[in-house]
Amino acid sequence: MVSLLDIIGPVMVGPSSSHTAGACRLGLIARDLVAGTPERALIELHGSFARTGEGHGTDKAIVGGLLGFRPDDERLRDALQIMEREGLDFRFEKTTLGDEPAVHPNTVRITVHRAHRHHVMLGASLGAGRIRVSEIDGYPVEVDGSHHTIVMVAEDIKGSIARIAGLLSEADLNIATLRLSRKHRGGDAFMVIEVDERPTDAVGAALKALPWVRWTHRIEKVGG
């Protein structure tokens, strides 16, 4: 559904909603995977991100996102200097991740390390500030950052959805959408659950503790 405020907005640091605002959101999501500013990061730019990224400030925007700056934060402009001052080891590489249309021209792969955690995500900036994260740690997901989102991989067992829904409702979380996919019966099921409020650490821990959940992440809303 188109909203007036998507048209008159967002308020953002220029110059490009796809190359700057969207790129910043992708950085914010990568940051969220390690729950804070990563100490080390590898940022692999593909396609148009690699070709015109520097002119559009895509590098600054992604680094800004990793530092926790939002798309309307003027510190984005100085993100590279701030990164150096803080002694953070963020490296950029240009790469080819595949052909269009399978791989969107504004795609980036970000690998982040913080303390004992490390994760890798693949995401694209689709235009007008909208983004899509398509892979986390090799698992296919689909996250657009417009909601707080829980992603998980679980064994495909009966009653798993009901158990998860129950757990979320006990925590007073309202489910906006729930998408489930599995490759074959009895195989791993991928779940993407969008919720209206930010799930607490306790909710995250409770989900992780379910014996049939292999992997799960909470991703904060970064726009929309």
């Binding site: 048209i7 907005g9 308020v11 110059p15 015109t52 400030g57 402009r77």
Partner: protein, 292 residues
């Protein structure tokens, strides 16, 4: 949100309300948010627009590549042309100012996109420089601009990569023309004609930024987009009607966009970007950014 301006205009006329009120009612219902909250968000957008204009007019913002910057200030203090002292010049300098700030990684409102962000504040704040317009009326104008943009988004596109510059600065010109017509007391029907008149003048406009950067011609596309919007407002307020309804002009823009070669859709493969000078400047500036 309304899918057509025809529907929105009929609704506003039938209920004896402005397009802004009609749009705010529907937005409130769609999003489950009170109208006051949406107006507040639009008011914040208006403040950001004012801030960007102010910064841009000082003339000391340069883009990353150095290709653009300082031209808004020339219109503010430079020698007079035939439009000196008119609203027209006020509009031009503000449209350029916002886009210069955008290119310099300053704060703007993407309306509808970052690339076309100069047109709407250019027209609305340029008018406000010469007319006494209340803050509430300005917020209403933004609501109507949002309605027009939402119709374009649903029927055609707002992305240069999808539909060329007619979808960015062209759509922004339609939004600004409609919003300004309402701001000056035009009826909903006149708003519709202003949108059609502005949008018809930008049909076929390609997206051809040098080096793929939102700088050149973008800064000046915003100025000429604002000029087209202003011309459309003048015509619509004088009672001129455009025979093809705005919705159909917008559909035409969408159709042309879909047919447009990929070279003319933000890839820097054609148009001004592919001229000998365009290529040379892009190459020089991109290497300069890398060194910086």
């Amino acid at each position: 949100m309304y899918h057509s301006l025809r529907e929105a205009i009929a609704d506003a006329e039938g209920r004896g309300i402005s397009l802004a009120t009609a749009a705010l009612d529907i937005e409130s219902r769609d999003q489950g948010r009170p109208v006051a909250e949406i107006r507040e968000a639009l008011r914040r957008a208006l403040h950001v627009m004012r801030g960007a204009v102010e910064q841009g007019l000082t003339g000391d913002r340069r883009s990353n590549s150095g290709l653009v910057g300082g031209d808004a200030a020339k219109l503010r203090t430079g020698p007079a042309g035939p439009l000196a002292g008119t609203v027209f010049r006020e509009v031009l300098m503000r449209a350029i100012a916002v886009q210069e700030v955008n290119a310099a990684m300053g704060i703007i409102v993407a309306a509808p996109t970052a690339g076309g962000a100069g047109v709407l504040p250019g027209v609305l704040l340029g008018l406000a420089a010469k007319h006494d317009l209340s803050e509430d009326a300005m917020v209403d104008a933004l609501a109507t601009a949002g309605l027009i943009g939402a119709v374009v988004a649903q029927r055609a596109s707002l992305s240069g990569a999808e539909g060329g510059c007619q979808a960015e600065t062209g759509a922004a010109a339609g939004m600004a023309a409609g919003a300004a017509t309402q701001l000056l007391g035009g009826t909903p029907a006149q708003v519709g004609h202003a949108v059609a008149l502005a949008q018809q003048g930008t049909l076929g406009l390609v997206c051809d930024p040098l080096g793929g950067l939102v700088e050149l011609p973008c800064v000046f596309r915003n100025a000429t987009g604002a000029a087209i919007a202003l011309a459309a407002v003048e015509m619509a307020m004088a009672g001129i009607t455009f025979a093809i309804p705005a919705d159909e002009v917008i559909d035409t823009m969408g159709e042309i966009g879909r047919e447009m070669d990929v070279r003319y859709r933000e890839t820097a493969g054609g148009g001004l970007a592919a001229t000998p000078t365009g290529r040379r400047l892009a190459k020089e500036r991109l290497t300069q950014i890398k060194r910086a």
